[in-house]
């Protein structure tokens, strides 16, 4: 049980690789939900040891990131009737390979983050890897929904790094961030639907009219 956070982190890395390689938008949203569940399990040992804050955090993260946010995004996806593949700029093979090198570099960098001796380098490595991989993924996507997924995974990476620093941010801030993410998911979902109404597609590479 004491190894649960480490196992969750490794599974999150595998989820990131899946995100890089998959082309189906519905699966992307499901993997986001899986990552949310894994993230919510990280404070579980502290919750089982009796901390009420950690228990609320586990429940809150599970509800928001595991259930509600993916449901909102899935609703937005289902309401736009366009092809459900993500059409990245660079294909799966050529994004998995940089993704792997990013992971290696992040593991090396995680050893050097100057945050004191109590900082677990594995958390640092996984957090950095998630952050940079998601940014790579956002840059590589054409469809609006995949950019949104990349954004949420970026946020996951940042929260993983926060967990490494003294087991997370203060409780109130974490709850506030969860609410903020919920709001963001609603706004993103509504915006994508409206974008589809105006453009009849959500392919951002075709929205290049504003220049100069």
């Amino acid at each position: 049980m004491s190894d649960l956070p480490h196992t969750c982190l490794l599974l999150i890395v595998l989820c990131n690789f899946y995100v890089l390689s998959t082309g189906r938008l519905a699966n992307l949203i499901r993997i986001l939900s899986v990552e949310g569940v894994l993230l919510s399990l990280i404070p579980l040992p502290a919750a089982l040891a009796g901390s009420a804050h950690a228990a609320i955090l586990v429940a809150g993260t599970l509800a928001v990131k595991g259930v509600i946010m993916p449901a909102l995004l899935m609703r937005a996806l289902r309401s736009i009737d366009e092809p459900l593949d993500s059409r990245p700029i660079v294909g799966a093979v050529y994004s998995l390979i940089p993704g792997f090198f990013i992971l290696a570099a992040a593991f090396v960098a995680g050893l050097h983050i100057p945050l004191g001796d109590a900082f677990d380098p594995l958390i640092g490595g996984v957090g950095l890897a998630t952050l940079v991989t998601s940014m790579l993924y956002m840059v590589n996507s054409r469809k609006a929904i995949s950019q949104v997924i990349g954004f949420f995974i970026m946020e996951n990476g940042i929260l993983i790094l926060a967990v490494g620093i003294r087991h997370g941010l203060p409780f109130v801030i974490e709850i506030a961030i969860l609410f903020d993410l919920l709001l963001a998911a609603m706004i993103f979902g509504g915006f994508i639907r409206r974008m589809h109404e105006v453009f009849t597609h959500t392919d951002t590479s075709r929205m290049r009219k504003l220049k100069g």
């Binding site: 945050l115 609006a144 946020e155 620093i165 203060p170 974008m195 109404e197």
Partner: protein, 488 residues
């Protein structure tokens, strides 16, 4: 307490606005609500300037000189923009702003103001971040109010770039939290961080500051994170553009200046932060000046000018010494001037039917009040004397020379001169000259209501007035705010 009133009023105003069904009612309510907020803000600010900082909720919500100054700016610009919005939207046809769109506008307007007020009121830097993120969420749908393709594209760029950038700001905040030797809820209060700054680990503090500069700098519009700004500010409806350029950028910069004294003390050397600010500021000025040359769209010109002026504020902060005073003074001047510029540009574009600068000449003949206002505003923006912007830029240069930053001053002057050269010709041709081909046949000079005269007149007088004379009380206020940034 009055702080609670200031914080909660915009949200209640938003809820009330959702109960209004007619567009005229909404437009009157936004003026009334902004007026109430202004009164509340001014009274709280007066107390702070006279007697020192006030706080509540165990210090998580506080108002000190710096945030009081920005709060007044937000309240004033919101009121002016609300008054202008009423004037602007009354000239729009029923189809472009129907009751339903106006209903959404009212709610989002107050939510936007409320989130900006939240940024300024929260002493807790984590909650400050949450408010900053919610400004992005609240204002996105304001940009694409009229659902056409350019504004949707601009709104998407704004949403995704600012959200992603603000995430980096969160990472920076986390690093600062990690650098601090404290833990728990109160560890993220700015006042606590300031007190414990001397014991902070400098290395994560440095990384944190860079991330904060990049993250919050995205919201400020510093280059190279400015790519969303020209699109968003030019495609949004003009009252919204005025709010963006006038106060939202300031709020972003306020967040950065909150971290400057903390990191300076932690690192032990104030010049490290200043060099970072100088670098980003000068780069923004240079990039903006290049895009102002040959710019054809009037509102995009104003947007790039915002990038330039935010760069100037950053350079001012980066000079140190008297530069901080000058930068805060410049913030006020820019808010006033940019509001005036957008007001005039918006109505001009509305009346003349085009945004193309080349087609918009002879403004003073066609649209007398707004055209003259546009001329005044543009001349002020590019730094003509005796307007206030010239004064603040001059003070920044003087501070730079005093501090010995010769290279920075040289680049500053180069960029400012480029902007002057690039924007002077359009400014003149917009006001004078012979009217070229237009999409609407001219029907004689447009008569403007008293509101127009009042807005343009008052703002222009303020611009000239502040340029020749800074009242003693304003000087004290600015010095108090600068002292907060310097870490006293």
């Amino acid at each position: 307490m009055i702080l609670w009133a200031i914080a909660l009023f915009p949200m209640s105003a938003a809820l009330i606005s959702l109960a209004l069904r007619r567009r005229s009612a909404v437009l009157i309510w936004i003026v009334a609500g902004s007026l109430v907020e202004l009164v509340l803000a001014l009274s709280a600010a007066a107390r702070v300037f006279r007697a020192g900082a006030v706080s509540t909720l165990d210090g998580h919500i506080a108002l000190d000189a710096l945030s009081a100054l920005h709060l007044c700016l937000v309240a004033v610009v919101s009121l002016l923009s609300s008054i202008y919005a009423r004037e602007y939207f009354s000239h729009e046809s029923e189809s472009s702003l129907d009751d339903r769109t106006a209903w959404k506008f009212g709610g989002l307007w107050f939510a936007f103001i409320g989130s900006m007020v939240g940024v300024l009121l929260f002493n807790n830097v984590g909650l400050m971040w949450v408010s900053m993120e919610s400004t992005t969420l609240a204002s996105t749908f304001l940009i694409c109010l009229h659902r056409d393709r350019p504004s949707m594209e601009a709104a998407w760029k704004y949403l995704i770039i600012c959200s992603a950038g603000i995430m980096l700001g969160l990472l920076g905040t986390i690093f600062i939290y990690g650098a601090s030797p404290l833990a728990g809820e109160s560890a993220l209060k700015w006042s606590t961080l300031m007190d414990s700054a001397a014991q902070m680990d400098p290395r994560p503090a440095r990384i944190g500051f860079i991330l904060i500069l990049i993250g919050y700098g995205t919201k400020v519009g510093l280059a190279p994170m400015h790519t969303w700004l020209p699109d968003a500010h030019s495609q949004a409806p003009t009252p919204v553009s005025a709010m963006f350029s006038g106060v939202l950028l300031n709020c972003g910069f306020y967040c950065i200046t909150r971290f400057v004294p903390i990191v300076s003390t932690a690192v032990g050397d104030p010049s490290w932060c200043r060099h970072m600010l100088l670098g980003f500021g000068l780069f923004s000025m240079l990039v903006a000046s290049l895009f102002i040359l040959g710019q054809r769209d009037l509102k995009r010109l104003l947007a790039y000018s915002s990038v330039e002026h935010m760069g100037i504020v950053a350079v001012g902060m980066g000079m140190g010494g008297g530069g901080t005073f000058a930068a805060l003074y410049h913030t006020i001047n820019h808010s006033v001037c940019k509001s005036l510029a957008f007001f005039c540009a918006g109505r001009t574009i509305q009346e003349r039917g085009t945004r193309d600068i080349e087609k918009l000449s002879a403004g003073r003949d066609r649209v007398p009040v707004w055209g003259s206002g546009l001329l005044v505003a543009l001349l002020a923006l590019i730094g003509c004397a005796p307007f206030s912007i010239f004064m603040s830029e001059f003070l920044i240069v003087r501070a730079g020379v005093e501090e010995g930053q010769v290279a920075a001053v040289a680049l500053f002057l180069l960029a400012a001169a480029t902007v002057f050269a690039g924007a002077l010709k359009p400014a003149i041709s917009l006001a004078f000259g012979v009217g070229k081909s237009e999409s609407r046949p001219p029907a004689g000079p447009v008569r403007s209501a008293g509101t127009a005269h009042a807005l343009v007149g008052i703002l222009s007088l303020v611009l000239i007035g502040l340029g020749v004379w800074i009242p003693a009380q304003l000087q004290t206020i600015l010095h108090q705010a600068a002292a907060v940034i310097a870490g006293n």
